[in-house]
Symmetry: C2
Subunit: 323 residues, 2 copies
């Protein structure tokens, strides 16, 4: 049996190309309970680049006490920076929590960083032990110093739609926090539905609010979680509103820390299946990507939560696709 990829159907309202910001190696692995050897992480990143991904978030320079899964960041980054010569245009951003983390990242060859802020007061307190305003101010010297060092910065804004403690989050509040991150010097703002509760109407509402605030859509990315199965419909809605940068995690790696049994990040394979079906280019070879996720799932000792990976790896013949 050979499963054909769906025929390409183009829609002029959708972008011709989407850049996938692959977060599996950082956001995915930081939520894994098992410690993954540094060689496996380096091979994972190399295989993601070989599969055509050109933005591969590599690790986090957060203190090992908080995220022991990524305690090997200083050892890992130099193992993969050589990929930038091998694959033209490859970016390997790393998360940094503060100035100390930034210096460690720069010393190990980081050429792009990301900071992680919250759109809600409660999550800022719980995650960073600071008020939202204090947390944003903490990032000011980090982003300033990064930009001075010629290193691009991305701002993650979490809990943009709902918060486990505060419930639904208003768009105005998210826009205010997002404007602060952009004003600090972040080139790109990734809007995160950290607990996966959003539905398409809310996505449209938030993007329209950013538009009213004068933020060019080119500076925005979306980061959806599949906790309630909504990530891909939300992504489709975002694409219709001009978004062209989408965060996703190979194989759907990474659980939601607030609901033990919930699934986590949007799987890159599910995203690529939709984008290629819509005639949107990604540069990704879906077969190679699914094989990479299946390989890592074997190393982690459990099946990939991605629907597309399960279907492709379970099927007798893998279709070949580069879009």
């Amino acid at each position: 049996m050979e499963l054909g990829l769906p025929a390409v159907v183009r829609d002029p309202a959708l972008p011709a190309r989407v850049r996938i910001h692959e977060v599996g190696a950082r956001d995915g692995l930081q939520n894994e309970s098992s410690l993954v050897p540094v060689e496996v992480k380096a091979e994972f990143i190399a295989r993601l680049a070989a599969a055509g991904l050109r933005t591969v978030e590599a690790t986090s320079f957060v203190h090992p006490k908080w995220v022991p899964q990524l305690a090997d960041a200083e050892e890992l980054l130099p193992r993969v920076t050589g990929l930038r010569e091998q694959y033209q245009g490859l970016r390997l951003p790393v998360l940094v929590p503060n100035e100390r983390g930034l210096e460690r990242a720069l010393a190990r060859g980081a050429d792009e960083i990301a900071v992680f802020a919250s759109a809600t007061e409660t999550f800022a307190q719980r995650n960073l032990n600071r008020s939202m305003a204090e947390a944003l101010e903490m990032f000011r010297p980090v982003v300033t110093r990064a930009v001075e060092a010629g290193v691009g910065a991305r701002g993650y804004l979490s809990m943009c739609f709902g918060d486990p403690w505060e419930g639904p989050v208003g768009a105005d509040q998210v826009v205010t926090a997002g404007l602060r991150l952009l004003e600090l010097g972040c080139a790109e703002l990734s809007l995160g539905d950290t607990i996966g509760v959003a539905t398409p109407g809310q996505v449209a509402g938030l993007l329209e609010a950013f538009d009213r605030a004068g933020v060019p859509v080119e500076r925005l990315a979306v980061h959806f979680h599949d906790t309630y199965g909504q990530a891909l419909s939300n992504t489709l809605t975002a694409l219709r509103h001009g978004i062209t940068v989408v965060d996703a995690s190979a194989g759907g790696l990474g659980g939601c820390p607030y609901a033990k049994s919930a699934t986590g990040n949007l799987a890159t394979e599910d995203l690529v299946w939709m984008l290629h079906g819509l005639g949107i280019e990604t540069g990704v070879d879906l077969t190679a990507l699914a094989a990479t996720s299946a390989w890592l799932a074997g190393r982690l000792g459990r099946p990939s939560p991605s629907r597309a990976v399960q279907a492709l790896v379970g099927a007798a013949t893998l279709p070949s696709s580069t879009g």
Copy 2:
């Protein structure tokens, strides 16, 4: 921790209300490897009705040799027909393969039937051992007799987007087969992506082709599979094209028979989460529905594949919602 449901955001392009055609008890259970006792099936259907579903496909009167999982249809149907008095407007359609099946169904109190046809030649041959044209003619006396008996008929059309043997399926071919089913007397036509390969552009393309052929959208339903994670984005696209009847399976019951490890039907809970988030009424109590799916999963001895069921049942506090 209490997870709030997302705030309701209305979009005038979307319908105010969607009727869910619940297929878990038939399409779901017919693909289960374990035999489920008839009392459990009857309780499942009763709980689905109690959760607010008003179209609950109950079973199939296909020959027990072909679908042993539903060999108890004659015993099951009389156990649940009383629910129609308890819940106003409740419909309990049953699948029938031929005139013999129809007579058995009518004798046991069926008030609505469905027939299952294919949009592709190869699947018609493999599933029914007939050409497409022969299969459609075979249904003519079935639908005619049902309508004469005052029993409504629905036509399922499978493989509307892709076929494991033929690859992508053209819209013209699907429209031709669909028109035949409607002309036979089917009140409603359910367009099925049996192998789950479709993406939103193809859904739009097929619905536009039916519109050009003069078929009122009120006579169409959609039936998506989550094999590649695409079911909900495809549903959203269909809603934007005027569809108001959506097939779904409680807890995502039912695998795809063509890819062993693939996931199957769109989970009703994932659908309801999106619809309620969009402010679309369904009449369904999501908490009661997720509890029902979790209960059945326990009886089947494996977790529900629905993302929303996993999230809701895993969370400490279940949100309450009736939309």
